[in-house]
């Protein structure tokens, strides 16, 4: 897939932001700062989704991860009040070199495999230039059907995984309610 013009600039800028912020997440000492850098990474990745013309996924990425999950992360960090890692003397890495190199090696191999495959099969077709010019020229009339397509696929072809995921989430909710509910509350309404 060849990147041209503004797309290339945006892609490299966003990718660089996501990567640098990702490194910062694990190197800074304060957990709140880590959470902030993680938010930056997520927003960078949402930008990359927009470059892939997956606007719906980008919107959901920000809504769910930045607006929901990260807010709860911060909530927990504040309640737990992690002080130990912020001290200079504490080690923040466990120094498990062997496992680290192993995982990096495996990841590199899988990346190489995906890149080779995509070259061969061309499943990542570059979007047509003519199409794109048309959509930018008349933004009022033509909109991509991205959201509708996601909905169609989700409730027809991916219906079973979707249902399984929702049941999993329900189990998690019921479990957390059971953990949070004390004996006292159980008694009140008996």
């Amino acid at each position: 897939m060849q990147l041209q013009g503004y797309e290339a600039i945006f892609f490299y800028a966003l990718a660089l932001v996501a990567l640098i912020m990702g490194v910062m997440v694990i190197t800074v000492r304060s957990p709140v700062h880590s959470a902030l850098f993680l938010i930056s990474t997520l927003i960078g990745i949402a930008g990359l989704f927009i470059l892939l013309r997956a606007e719906f996924i980008a919107g959901v990425q920000i809504l769910v991860y930045v607006g929901g999950v990260m807010v709860l992360f911060l909530f927990v960090i504040m309640l737990v009040n992690v002080q130990q890692e912020t001290r200079e003397t504490t080690q923040i890495f466990t120094r498990q070199y062997v496992a680290g190199y192993l995982i990096v090696g495996l990841l590199t191999l899988s990346f190489l495999y995906v890149v080779r495959e995509s070259r061969n099969t061309q499943f990542l077709k570059p979007p047509q230039i003519e199409e794109r010019a048309e959509t930018t020229a008349t933004p009022m009339t033509s909109l991509s059907k991205d959201t509708q397509e996601v909905g169609d696929k989700l409730y027809t072809r991916a219906a079973l995984p979707f249902e399984i995921a929702s049941v999993l989430l329900l189990v998690a909710i019921v479990g957390s309610v059971m953990l949070a509910r004390g004996r006292k509350q159980e008694k009140i309404f008996e």
Binding site: V32, H33, G59, L63, G68, M78, P139, L143, S144, D146
Partner: protein, 419 residues
């Protein structure tokens, strides 16, 4: 005008960069002026409700008060607590203000060239970006390194995360009629149906408005900044311009949630007979549409301020009860019942699928069916469902709760006497 300018200069650069920049500058100026005057309106309306006069000193009827306030906040000393996290303390108010202002780009201010941009995921984009605004409040409360701001921040994050769910689900009912997330197309869909969706979705509108009050930290849901308990909430340690950034964010998000309500439920820039202008004069039509849009938004903003001085603040557990036990079940019931009504309407011929895949309510009979069922079936059914769910909660059915407690007490006494 949007089409004319690029043709005369013959450059896509103008239509894609310069013209939007001009629009953004105008919108930025207009909305921030409205925001500034909202602070004055807040004080004036509160004064009128309490039979006072409000600010009267600066300018005629105090009309220059916002300028004086802004100047004061700019030149005030900027204090940062000694043990505050400097970086986070600095960026937190910026996050809130930016998240609120970015959303202004996708709102449909009026017909044709009055709307800056029309993106496929308009409504989702607004919800997503405004959900980022919560981060500014939490981080500001945490970075202050002080008790009251932290408590305020924790309260607000819990509140906003809960009401976001109800808000998103309340919009879903109207989206079932519009079939699109693009703000401009939602307005056009209402023009095609010749009906404001508030009549199809009265329940959705009410729930959306309540959740919007909670999302923007307005009374009766202003727990994050409950003055009597928290001295000021998450912004206690902020002063000067950083403080005003929080308020710009808050009032801008009030404007944004009102605009969403207007776009989705109140027909956007449509008003009966405004279409007649279109044949006569295009420019006049667009200007009229802008006026209609802003008039509707200001009406809703006025309701925001009215509510603030009408309802007492909720207690924290009541706030969570209202969100999770009332609003969210009500929105879910609304979605299910609306979906069922669509199918029933299709069977009876009131709803038809048009060529381009849009589902349309047909004619006067169809509209009567949809509106009638919304008021006569959806609302009573949801009310019955809610009272079934909440039969045993603490703040509902108080008499039964009291009877239960009395009975348990008598049982305890009887048991004690038996020993």
């Amino acid at each position: 005008m949007r089409d004319k300018i690029p043709q005369s200069i013959g450059d896509a650069w103008v239509s894609n960069v310069i013209w939007p920049l001009i629009q953004i500058a105008i919108v930025f100026f207009v909305v921030l002026t409205i925001v500034a005057y909202l602070t004055l309106a807040e004080r004036k309306i509160s004064a009128w409700i309490q039979v006072r006069m409000g600010p009267m000193r600066v300018g005629p009827w105090g009309l220059l008060q916002p300028a004086a306030d802004g100047l004061k906040l700019l030149i005030k000393e900027d204090i940062m607590p000694l043990k505050a996290d400097r970086a986070v303390f600095t960026i937190a108010p910026i996050i809130t203000a930016v998240a609120a202002i970015v959303v202004l780009t996708v709102l449909p201010y009026g017909a044709d060239w009055a709307t800056i941009t029309n993106i496929n995921i308009g409504l989702l984009f607004i919800l997503a970006v405004s959900s980022v605004g919560v981060l500014g409040i939490i981080l500001g409360g945490w970075a202050s390194n002080s008790k009251y701001p932290l408590l305020g921040a924790l309260r607000s994050s819990a509140q906003m995360v809960s009401y976001e769910v109800a808000m998103g689900l309340a919009l879903m009912g109207a989206l079932m009629f519009s079939k699109t997330l693009s703000m401009y197309s939602i307005v056009e869909a209402q023009a095609k149906d010749q009906m404001w969706y508030v009549f199809y979705q009265p329940l959705g509108f009410i729930i959306y408005f309540i959740s919007a009050l909670a999302e923007t930290n307005r009374a009766p849901f202003d727990l994050p900044e409950a003055e009597s308990e928290l001295t000021g909430g998450f912004h206690t340690e902020y002063s000067g311009f950083r403080f005003s950034l929080y308020f710009i964010g808050e009032y801008t998000s009030m404007f944004v949630v009102s605009s969403i309500a207007v776009t989705l439920f109140l027909g956007g820039w449509h008003f009966p007979f405004i279409g007649l202008l279109k044949e006569q004069d295009q420019t006049l039509y667009v200007l009229a549409s802008i006026v209609v849009f802003f008039a509707k938004v200001i009406l809703l903003l006025w309701a925001f301020m009215w509510f603030r001085w009408t309802f007492p603040r909720y207690r924290y557990d009541q706030l969570m009860d209202v969100g999770w036990k009332w609003l969210i079940p009500a929105t879910l019931a609304n979605i299910v019942i609306t979906g069922m009504l669509f199918i029933v309407g299709q069977e009876l011929g009131f709803v038809q699928t048009t060529g381009d895949g849009r589902v349309e309510v047909v004619g006067v009979a169809g509209n009567a069916f949809m509106i009638g069922t919304a008021f006569l079936i959806t609302i009573p059914a949801t009310a019955i469902l809610l009272s079934l769910i909440n039969r045993r909660t603490r703040d509902f059915n108080l008499r039964a709760q009291r009877q239960l407690q009395l009975r348990r007490r008598q049982e305890r006494i009887a048991a004690g006497a038996g020993d």
